[in-house]
């Protein structure tokens, strides 16, 4: 029994039964497959998380985001900046850089993208850690203050998308939100 010493003192010399051996081989091969499939997806898949990251101070990042928001702010017919519920809407050029910052408690600014086009997203936080959770796409990233994470995103469908925060960031965590609008 498992609570007694092995009955055979030389237990390590007992043969392994075929059922156990077969299962060990299956588990081993499956593990090996799962390891190589992660590598393979970098070649055959279109969803691989970039790890391009730069150290940056929170002030520097905030300046970059504000400059970006000024430059590409969407204006209405009267030349007034368009806002979505108080958040300025910014439409970066196709293939261009997009800056989004997380802070207590919003994702800023709101972004307008074109379907099927690629953009270089720069994401960071200016205070605590946040969780960039793009919904309903369900892309979820960790966001650190002081680390500028750069990745290329290509929206495949038009519509209104939400950004939720899924890293606890204090008492207003559940109000932290953002918007990405994808147009045809």
């Amino acid at each position: 029994m498992a609570i007694n010493a092995p009955t055979n003192r030389l237990w390590w010399k007992e043969p392994i039964h075929s059922i156990e051996l077969g299962w060990i081989i299956i588990a081993f091969l499956w593990g090996l497959f799962m390891f190589f499939f992660m590598i393979a997806w970098h070649f055959i898949g279109d969803q691989n998380l970039s790890t391009e990251t730069y150290r940056i101070t929170t002030d520097q990042f905030q300046e970059k985001v504000e400059a970006f928001a000024d430059e590409y702010a969407v204006k209405d017919a009267n030349g007034e900046a368009v806002e979505i519920n108080g958040t300025p809407l910014v439409a970066p050029p196709v293939g261009g850089d997009v800056y989004i910052l997380g802070r207590l408690w919003e994702w800023w600014p709101a972004i307008e993208l074109k379907k099927g086009q690629s953009y270089r997203f720069h994401i960071s936080s200016v205070d605590w850690q946040h969780g960039f959770s793009l919904q309903p796409v369900n892309i979820n990233l960790s966001v650190h203050p002081g680390l500028e994470h750069v990745l290329t995103l290509t929206p495949t469908k038009a519509g209104e998308y939400g950004i939720v925060c899924n890293e606890f960031c204090g008492i207003g965590h559940h109000t932290m939100s953002g918007v990405i609008r994808v147009v045809e």
Binding site: A5, F35, G45, N48, G131, L141, E167, T175
Partner: protein, 575 residues
């Protein structure tokens, strides 16, 4: 005293008080027994507190109920994590380590005073942590990621608790030395003790990682250090946070083997294979904290892929091996007991009315199907991005730590109370149902949280309606349904948990005394004299039932794995 005892190693002397257990024939030493009792009682107390917090969390996350206000929700959630994931589990594990060394090996416990010091430190740490959390300025969640800062008492309490636990682990190792020196057993240590040794070795690594990260964080909270690097913190913290779950796995798998042995007379199919699988946990699981870091910036893909899998998911392989050998040992034993008809008579005629057995078997099945498979999905570099920090993650680890570890520990308690407290389980008719009620709830919360996570619901979030948000995202009605079902499941789990606490406390206080002549157990242990047939041998057994079960498991695993890749391939492209 301590020094004198060390000086007397090898003279199994009269100064130690032993009794012989009338149900198992084992020698039980008095100090070991008292230490196991104290740690087990503390464990159950913190389970009660943490479980209550858990119910409050689930009822708050049920959108139609939303019981607590936001500040209390985040506070209680922090307390829930600390009480159940640390205090309940580690107190129980210390009791288990003493059981697996002193009781199973028939030895005295080494340095009991030192062990009591460890226990005291753990109590002080656990109470201080609850004080710090309930005071309200340490609402930083279990992970306490910087630069969010808790009060310094919070970090200090965890450090004290960890030091106390480390002392318990050292006493365990010392007891092994004593048992060996005093020749209390022959040959190799039993498999259960071997499993406990792996758990203890992983615990040393875990507590060291905890010290490396919590001590500087504590100094930072005192203003002695200017800052903590957020990414470095996560890497080292998960060296503790994940490895501590490996202690749990090694511990609850040891319990599976122990309960299978004590309730149906199971012996390992092959000592070599089962021990090798435990050994792989030490070699390959404790460092695999990388799967918590797959959605982080600043770590290369190569680093993530290698460290999340060690080239071939060897630790997953170890769990898959136990997933075969534990039910396999049960099947072989039941066939020896005479249940040989068909593929599954061994299972249908198993002692399902014994809460130790039913809890163990449900723990085995749910840990594999719910906790295990989803853990591998989360530990896959690209797939992780689909559910990182969604409520899928708590869904997964409630499958491992609640449906797996906690249920196994509860099952073991039904054996520990009669054998170590020498009191019988009260209300056996009710006790029989407890594992099913708790298991149903635990399985439900795991599955429904994962369902909600697949729909994007974030973890640690007070209000998915985002009522006060500027740009509220509207979650689908299915997400609300899932969170409601999660709340209902939590009520089941809490009912089962409350029942457990009442039954155990009631048994310890009012259970029929078993230290009198002729006493019998309400839930009898396996009687080895009842073995009717010599079923096979290590070389010839046949296990059609177990082979069927693992085949179903493996097909489920493959199917679920590729379903997630299909889902991933359809979302926005990113690289």
């Amino acid at each position: 005293m301590t020094a004198i005892e060390i000086g007397h190693i090898g003279t199994s002397g009269a100064q130690y008080q032993y009794r012989t257990c009338k149900f198992t024939g084992r020698r039980v030493e008095r100090s070991a027994e008292l230490l196991i009792r104290a740690n087990a009682v503390a464990a159950v107390v913190f389970l009660a507190v943490g479980g209550l917090f858990g119910l409050l969390v689930a009822l708050t996350r049920w959108p139609a109920v939303q019981l607590l206000p936001a500040d209390w929700f985040y506070l209680v959630l922090t307390g829930h994590g600390a009480n159940v994931l640390l205090f309940w589990i580690i107190f129980f594990e210390i009791a288990l380590l003493y059981f697996a060394s002193a009781v199973i090996l028939g030895s005295r416990i080494a340095t009991p005073k030192f062990a009591w010091l460890g226990f005291l430190l753990m109590i002080v740490g656990a109470v201080m942590a609850n004080y710090a959390v309930l005071k309200g300025d340490s609402t930083v969640m279990f992970t306490s990621y910087p630069p969010m800062l808790a009060e310094h008492w919070f970090y200090l309490s965890l450090i004290l608790f960890a030091v106390g636990a480390l002392i318990g682990v050292i006493v365990f190792f010392a007891t092994l030395v004593v048992a060996k020196a005093e020749n209390t057993y022959n040959g190799s240590v039993p498999l259960v003790t071997f499993g406990a040794i792996t758990a203890a070795i992983i615990a040393v690594f875990t507590l060291a990682s905890g010290a490396i990260i919590l001590v500087p964080t504590w100094l930072w909270s005192l203003g002695l250090i200017s800052g903590i690097d957020t990414l470095m913190y996560k890497i080292v913290w998960w060296g503790m946070g994940h490895s501590s779950q490996q202690i749990n796995v090694a511990a609850h798998i040891s319990i599976w083997y122990a309960i299978a042995a004590m309730t149906v007379g199971a012996k390992p199919l092959s000592e070599k294979v089962s021990r090798f699988a435990f050994l792989m946990y030490i070699l390959f699981l404790q460092l695999a904290s990388a799967h918590h870091l797959l959605a982080e910036p600043g770590l290369s893909s190569a680093w993530k892929i290698v460290n999340t899998s060690y080239m071939m998911y060897l630790a997953v392989m170890a769990s898959m091996i136990h997933g075969l050998t534990v039910p396999g040992a049960v099947e072989a034993a039941q066939r020896r007991n005479g249940y040989t008809r068909g593929w599954f008579e061994w299972l249908t005629k198993a002692p399902w009315g014994n809460p130790a057995f039913s809890g163990m078997f449900m723990s085995l099945v749910m840990f594999g199907f719910i906790g295990g498979i989803t853990g591998v999905i989360l530990g896959t570099e690209q797939l992780n991005v689909l559910m990182h920090n969604t409520i899928y993650v708590p869904g997964h680890f409630h499958g491992t730590v609640v449906a797996g570890t906690t249920l196994a520990f509860m099952a073991m308690t039904y054996i520990v109370v009669p054998l170590i407290f020498q009191r019988d389980i009260i209300l056996p008719g009710l006790a029989k149902w407890q594992p099913y009620i708790f298991g149903l709830g635990a399985g439900g919360i795991s599955l429904f949280m994962m369902g909600a996570g697949t729909l994007g619901v974030p973890r640690r979030h007070w209000d998915i309606a985002m009522t006060d948000a500027a740009n509220a995202y509207e979650f689908s009605p299915a997400a609300y349904l899932m969170m409601g079902l999660n709340g209902i499941s939590a009520i089941f789990a809490a009912t089962g948990g409350l029942l457990f606490v009442l039954l155990i406390v009631g048994s310890v206080l009012f259970g029929r005394r078993l230290d009198v002549p002729g006493a019998k157990l309400n839930f009898p242990l396996h009687d080895d004299s009842k073995v009717v047939s010599q079923y096979g041998s290590e070389a010839t057994f046949k296990l059609p039932g177990t082979v069927t079960l693992v085949t179903i498991f493996f097909l489920t695993f493959i199917l679920y794995y590729f379903v997630n890749w299909k889902y991933l391939s359809e979302i926005w492209q990113f690289n």
